[in-house]
């Protein structure tokens, strides 16, 4: 898969402060279609805030976000919503509706394209959507659990259902905020391998926040480090060194040394 910036995500000069405290002081980064980029940084360094600004859960103070070559600047209303829909997000807390089946949860990713009358309950979802959702579940390896309640699945399986929901949305840019922080090592590897595959084989632009440098080394095409509200580290996953990590997580100690 060739990587292309025009069909990925690009963020320029993203700024955000809370009550006078600057969290993002001009963040620049890009994620091309076909690559998996991992975002590292200490607790509170603003990784979640950056992703939330892209997806629209947080209003940034400034900066420009471009999705698939189209800038969100100046867009509003339905036009903004339509452009944003090309990006999807999965969360550490997974956020599935626990009482509904895995399949119904995946279908919910496709709500935006449905008329209201067909979207009020799973029984009303059109057959086409259910079959597409089934294909998405199959993509994450859970076709056989379609009718199980989401709450009954293991954490790793739930996170894969959440990824399938993002696929059902038709997302070309996938954001993942600590998708594996609550998973055991085997499930974490499985989910990271899935994200890498979605980038490399299906050509999605994937940006994942992680707290495990090991996983970043193993799965990421590129690693970005967020420190002091800016991107201070950018390297290939395979070349991520221990001193890079040291500098990112304990800058004071490195400066003192």
């Amino acid at each position: 898969m060739t990587t292309s910036l025009d069909s990925g995500l690009s963020v320029r000069g993203l700024r955000k402060s809370y009550g006078g405290r600057t969290v993002l002081a001009g963040v620049d980064f890009a994620v091309a279609a076909g690559e998996l980029v991992v975002l590292l940084g200490t607790n509170g360094s603003g990784k979640s805030t950056a992703l939330r600004c892209v997806i629209g859960l947080t209003e940034p103070d400034g900066g420009e976000i471009t999705l698939r070559g189209k800038s969100l600047k100046g867009l509003s209303g339905t036009e903004l919503a339509r452009s944003r829909r090309t990006a999807a997000m999965v969360f550490q807390q997974i956020h599935l509706v626990r009482r509904r089946s895995a399949l119904d949860n995946v279908c919910a990713g496709g709500l935006a394209g449905l008329p209201l009358s067909r979207s009020l309950a799973p029984a009303l979802f059109p057959r086409e959507l259910r079959e597409h959702a089934m294909a998405c579940l199959d993509r994450v390896g859970l076709a056989d659990r379609a009718h199980d309640r989401a709450g009954r699945l293991s954490g790793g399986q739930q996170q894969r259902v959440a990824v399938a929901r993002a696929l059902c949305q038709g997302a070309k840019v996938l954001l993942a905020d600590e998708p594996v922080s609550a998973l055991d090592p085997a499930a974490a590897t499985q989910v990271m391998a899935l994200l890498a595959e979605l980038a490399h084989r299906d050509g999605l632009a994937v940006a994942a926040v992680l707290h495990q440098p090991e996983l970043a080394r193993r799965h990421a095409d590129r690693v970005l480090g967020l420190l002091g509200g800016e991107i201070r580290l950018s390297c290939r996953g395979t070349t991520l060194s221990d001193s890079d990590i040291e500098a990112l997580y304990a800058p004071d100690r490195v400066e003192e040394a």
Partner: protein, 270 residues
């Protein structure tokens, strides 16, 4: 002995000493409150002991219960159905009002709307259902209908508050997840918020049905009909054995409703 062999360490002194004075003050205040309450309610164990004969006579007349079918049991059963019906309608008819107030009274509303709806609910909760019953009796006359209206008013306040709290407590994560996928407000409500809250809303509804059946018993006393009306009547006519029958019926009714709603709530909360 192992106790002497276990490792030990001196406990370091706490930075903040326990508030002995505060504990003592609270104890004195609580004690005084109980003394005053004792006097205010004219508690007198002597009177209770001296009067045991009266109680015994009363209970003797009540036992055995009068199980005459035509005179007592059949009217009693009919009245129980009336009581149940008052409780049922009092609960069901309050659903729309409670829903509106609950939705307006959840966090995130405009502060004025939020406060207004909270105040209306507080008012409806503060006025006892018996008072509502008296008010409605003056409008529609004695009978079960006044009881239904009274329960509806009181229950709208209580259930609205319980429901709005249940809605406030749910995790907003699944709703956020759908919102960022482009789903509209109604779609988010139907596919993320409702599936999460409906079980607890239904559970609370059943709990209120249980409470309302018991309240409708009390409303019988103000002429709203039902089995408690018969109990009141039999007391006034000194037919204590009939009263005993009705009380047994009430007991069975209350326990049955309680068991039913508890069973359904257990199924819902798996």
């Amino acid at each position: 002995m192992t106790a002497t062999e276990r490792p030990r360490r001196p406990v370091p002194a706490r930075a903040r000493k326990p508030l002995y004075v505060a504990v003592a003050v609270i104890a004195v205040v609580l004690g005084a409150a109980h003394v005053l309450a004792w006097q205010a309610t004219e508690v007198s164990p002597g009177a209770l002991v001296d009067g045991w004969r009266g109680m015994a006579r009363f209970l003797g007349e009540a036992l055995p219960p009068d199980l005459d079918w035509d005179e007592v049991v059949q009217p009693g059963l009919e009245a129980c159905l009336t009581t149940l019906a008052i409780g049922l309608l009092g609960t069901t008819l309050s659903v729309p009002g409670a829903l509106v107030l609950a939705v307006l009274g959840t966090r995130g509303r405009h502060p004025v709307v939020y406060q207004l709806s909270r105040s209306v609910m507080s008012f409806l909760r503060a006025v006892p259902d018996v008072v509502f019953a008296l008010v409605f009796v003056t409008a529609v006359g004695l009978g079960p209908f006044a009881g239904v209206l009274a329960l509806v008013c009181h229950n709208v306040g209580v259930m609205g508050k319980l429901w709005s709290e249940a809605v406030d407590e749910i995790d907003s994560g699944p709703a956020d997840a759908l919102r960022v996928s482009g789903a509209g407000a109604v779609q988010v409500l139907a596919n993320a918020v409702l599936p999460a809250v409906v079980p607890s809303l239904v559970g609370l509804l059943l709990y209120r049905f249980d409470v309302n059946v018991r309240s409708s018993l009390v409303l019988g006393l103000v002429g709203a009909g039902g089995v408690e009306f018969l109990i009141n009547q039999s007391i006034q006519l000194f037919e204590f054995d009939q009263m005993a029958t009705y009380i047994l019926m009430v007991l069975v009714l209350v326990v049955a409703v309680d068991l039913l709603s508890a069973a359904v709530r257990r199924r819902l909360s798996d």
